[in-house]
């Protein structure tokens, strides 16, 4: 009963602080709202279309014009014509066009005479998505052109129309993009970027909340509220922040999978569980960081470093397998990494409990972290013997 009263007192105190200093709500609700609006509108197109693709037409024949029209008609591409290669190269270097196709002089004549003119293309792989998509588009177009040339010849030889396709394309590929049928970058990135942002915000705001007690010397007052019990003080703070961040997390999940209709194979209820676990694990990590370094500014800097690194080490952009071996193990130290596994199981494969239960355990393991530093943090709170700036 006493514990409960202590906790209630801390909760009341925390809510007062929220009212006094808008930074907590601004840093959590304000920040995540901005991020949500940003990511959901930024990738509005899902897949970029009308990418500028440069073409230098040295041939100027009906064949080359046809090719250019076809290229322009693709969903991905928009043709930008250049008079010479020099100009086109300059435009590609400055990122104005994603690629340059050079149609050789006399291509039509050479094709007609079976002289096999060489078609050359250049890609700018530094503007990543644009370059990669342009590559895909050019490859498709040039193979279609080759097919068209072959079809002309086969038609001239009197092969029947049905048989032509089998000859031009003996093998075709039927691609199934599991869980993201339209190759939507918005689905792919927002699905992970938003929880990643939430993790970053939780770690920073919670470290700040615990650090502010040290910085403004109110830590003794906090302990007085709970009759000197550090555990009660932490629990009280945790309850307030868990409710706040879980609410944000739940709204985020509802927003993604319900309002925005992001594809989800499994159940949205399981994703609720995932986000709450992510919240708890991130909070534990925040306590651990400030507990190890009870100097607000240092703890915040380390927290910032840690949470920003989490974006890279989670492996949703560049998979962890591609990182250097000595970095790979570190990935497990980020709650987000486990959330990523959980989410993959639930959203893509509907793995259910059997699929994601190891991740639940991993995320719950983070909850032990605060226990290792609680004594040290209490020492800092009581003695206030660490630099506050």
């Amino acid at each position: 009963m006493k514990t409960w009263n202590n906790i209630k007192a801390v909760i009341r105190r925390e809510l007062r602080i929220f009212r006094q200093r808008p930074i907590y709500l601004l840093g959590s609700i304000g920040a995540i709202t901005f991020c949500t609006v940003f990511f959901l509108t930024f990738f509005r197109d899902g897949l970029p279309h009308d990418l500028p693709m440069g073409i230098v037409d040295n041939d100027d024949s009906s064949l080359s014009r046809n090719f250019i029209q076809q290229m322009d008609a693709t969903q991905l591409g928009k043709v930008v014509m250049f008079d010479n290669f020099e100009e086109a190269r300059e435009a590609m270097m400055s990122g104005k066009v994603t690629s340059v196709c050079v149609i050789p002089e006399g291509m039509y004549a050479d094709v007609s005479a079976n002289r096999r003119p060489v078609f050359t293309y250049y890609l700018n792989g530094l503007y990543f998505v644009g370059g990669a998509l342009a590559y895909k588009n050019i490859l498709t177009m040039i193979n279609l052109t080759n097919g068209a040339v072959q079809r002309q010849v086969l038609r001239a030889k009197g092969v029947n129309e049905n048989a032509i396709m089998g000859r031009i394309q003996p093998i075709s590929i039927d691609t199934h993009q599991i869980g993201n049928v339209t190759t939507n970058y918005g689905y792919y990135l927002s699905n992970m970027m938003l929880p990643a942002m939430l993790e970053l915000i939780i770690i920073i705001v919670f470290i700040y909340s615990l650090g502010a007690e040290l910085k403004y010397g109110t830590s003794r007052h906090l302990l007085k509220t709970t009759d000197g019990s550090m555990l009660d003080a932490l629990l009280g703070k945790l309850i307030v922040y868990t409710v706040l961040f879980s609410a944000i997390g739940l709204v985020l999940i509802i927003c993604l999978y319900h309002w925005m209709h992001f594809p989800i194979a499994g159940s949205i209820w399981n994703m609720f569980l995932a986000i709450v676990l992510l919240v708890l694990a991130s909070e534990s990590m925040a306590i651990f960081i400030i507990g190890c370094l009870p100097i607000p500014r240092l703890a915040l800097s380390v927290g910032a470093l840690y949470s920003v690194l989490g974006f890279s080490l989670t492996g949703f952009t560049l998979p962890v397998e591609a990182l250097p071996p000595y970095i790979q193990g570190l990935a497990a130290a980020f709650p987000l990494r486990h959330y990523f596994h959980f989410y993959t199981q639930e959203v893509y494969f509907a793995g259910g409990f059997a699929g994601w239960y190891p991740e639940v355990i991993h995320l719950l393991l983070f909850l032990f972290l605060p226990l290792t530093v609680i004594k040290r943090l209490k020492g800092a709170y009581v003695n206030q013997n660490f630099p506050t700036n």
Partner: protein, 428 residues
């Protein structure tokens, strides 16, 4: 004439005093030193280590070969030989492959249907099914690229065999199969390496963000201790904002030119990132970019009133800045509003200019638009930061007056705000 000289001399004296004072502040603040020198110097190294390889090789895939014919076996062998994928499992049926996919042991499945070989023999189009793990697009890209490249190769091979059987010579067959051979060039990033494009962008984002955080930290501290930078020139009586802004800017500018040279020129050399640019072009870019970042930070740090609050309020902007540069998501696909929003940040132009000149090896003309944008930004931010200092200085100088007014107002309403505040925090 004599008077003018005196003015210039005073100006210079003030300028030097302010710049030195700012440097003193920077070097006596542990937190700022940590951000400038530990984060500024270590972050680039750390990111380079993390993205050292940058290329995903040998993505494990499962193969379900229901056809079990010579064509499918050859296809599988060739698939296994590609850089992108590795045949990790050969499964008897789709169930087994699906299970492996769910267990995350494979990131793709290739299914050869029972009639795969038959259809090829019958000269029909035979279809193979590819199932991709979309949780990470690089898996998808690898599986898609490898299966398609092998498909193109196999198509060519099957056709050549058929034409040979029909009595065509090799040359005739080649003319038919590939009437227009193509030549691929990806000069700046040959294997679509993730690290080359991302690191080039991250490096400059680090310059901007560490400068902004460090400066905000210092500004917040000074405000907390009631010695805002704006109150520096006492004897100026609200005049001479130019030398305050320029003097402070110069201190950061000097430091960050050094850090910038390290980040933009030395770090890429250490890790073997492509450095195809001319040295003086990169220096010119740094000159513009760092100056811009200094006044950008000065403008926005005026929003910071408390020491640590910059992290709470603005840390989440770093990843967003990276997206706004247009290196990953193409600029042409960025919605109009965010495109305009991206003009706020120096990195939007700095990163593009850096990529064009340093990584792609262009000259200044390839960064023409970006350099102009950086210049405009610098002018705007210089103006804004001057206005900010002017306003703050005015408030500081008229503090007593404002306090008096406030007190009078409080008396009028009959509430003692301060006592109330104290009570609220103490929880009484």
């Amino acid at each position: 004439m004599a008077k003018r000289e005196t003015y210039a001399r005073t100006w210079l004296k003030d300028f030097c005093y302010i710049a030195c004072n700012e440097l003193k502040q920077i070097f006596s603040d542990g937190g700022v030193m940590l951000i400038f020198f530990v984060a500024g110097l270590l972050y680039p190294l750390l990111y380079n280590v993390v993205y050292l390889n940058g290329i995903l090789n040998d993505t494990p895939i499962a193969v379900v070969d229901e056809a079990a014919c010579s064509e499918s076996r050859r296809y599988i062998r060739e698939l296994d030989a590609t850089r992108e994928v590795e045949i990790a499992y050969k499964c008897i049926n789709m169930d087994e492959a699906e299970r492996l996919m769910k267990e995350r042991k494979v990131n793709g499945i290739v299914l050869f249907p029972r009639d795969f070989g038959e259809k090829i023999q019958r000269m029909e189009t035979s279809t193979i099914s590819v199932y991709c793990d979309m949780s990470c697009f690089l898996y998808y890209k690898n599986v898609l690229m490898s299966t398609n490249h092998v498909m193109l190769h196999e198509i060519g091979r099957i056709q050549v065999e058929r034409y040979a059987a029909a009595g065509f010579t090799d040359i005739e067959a080649a003319q038919l199969v590939q009437g227009i051979p193509y030549e691929e060039n990806n000069p700046y990033n040959q294997a679509f390496s993730y690290s080359i494009f991302l690191l080039s962008a991250i490096l400059l984002v680090i310059i901007q963000q560490t400068l902004f955080y460090g400066m905000s930290l210092l500004v917040g501290t000074q405000r907390e201790q009631n010695r805002s930078f704006a109150s520096l020139p006492y004897h100026l009586q609200g005049h001479g904002m130019g030398r305050v802004v320029l003097g402070r800017g110069f201190a950061y500018w000097g430091l960050y030119m050094a850090i910038g040279i390290y980040i933009a020129l030395i770090v890429p050399a250490i890790f073997g990132l492509p450095q195809r640019g001319q040295f003086w072009n990169i220096m010119a870019l740094l000159l513009f970019f760092v100056t811009d970042c200094v006044y950008f930070s000065m403008t926005f740090s005026t929003l910071i009133t408390k020491r640590e609050s910059v992290f709470v309020l603005f840390l989440f902007m770093s990843p967003i800045c990276l997206f706004l540069t247009g290196t990953s998501w193409p600029t042409t696909a960025i919605p109009g509003f965010w495109k305009v929003f991206s003009y706020i940040f120096p990195t939007t132009f700095g990163v593009q200019a850096f990529i064009n000149m340093s990584t792609a090896g262009g000259d200044l003309s390839t960064a023409h638009d970006q350099m102009i944008a950086l210049t405009i930004q610098t002018v705007v931010y210089f103006f804004l930061s001057t206005v900010a200092v002017y306003i703050e200085n005015w408030i500081i100088r008229h503090k007593e007056e404002i306090e008096e007014r406030k007190a009078a107002l409080e008396k009028e309403i009959g509430i003692d705000f301060h006592e109330e505040d104290r009570k609220m925090i103490a929880g009484e």
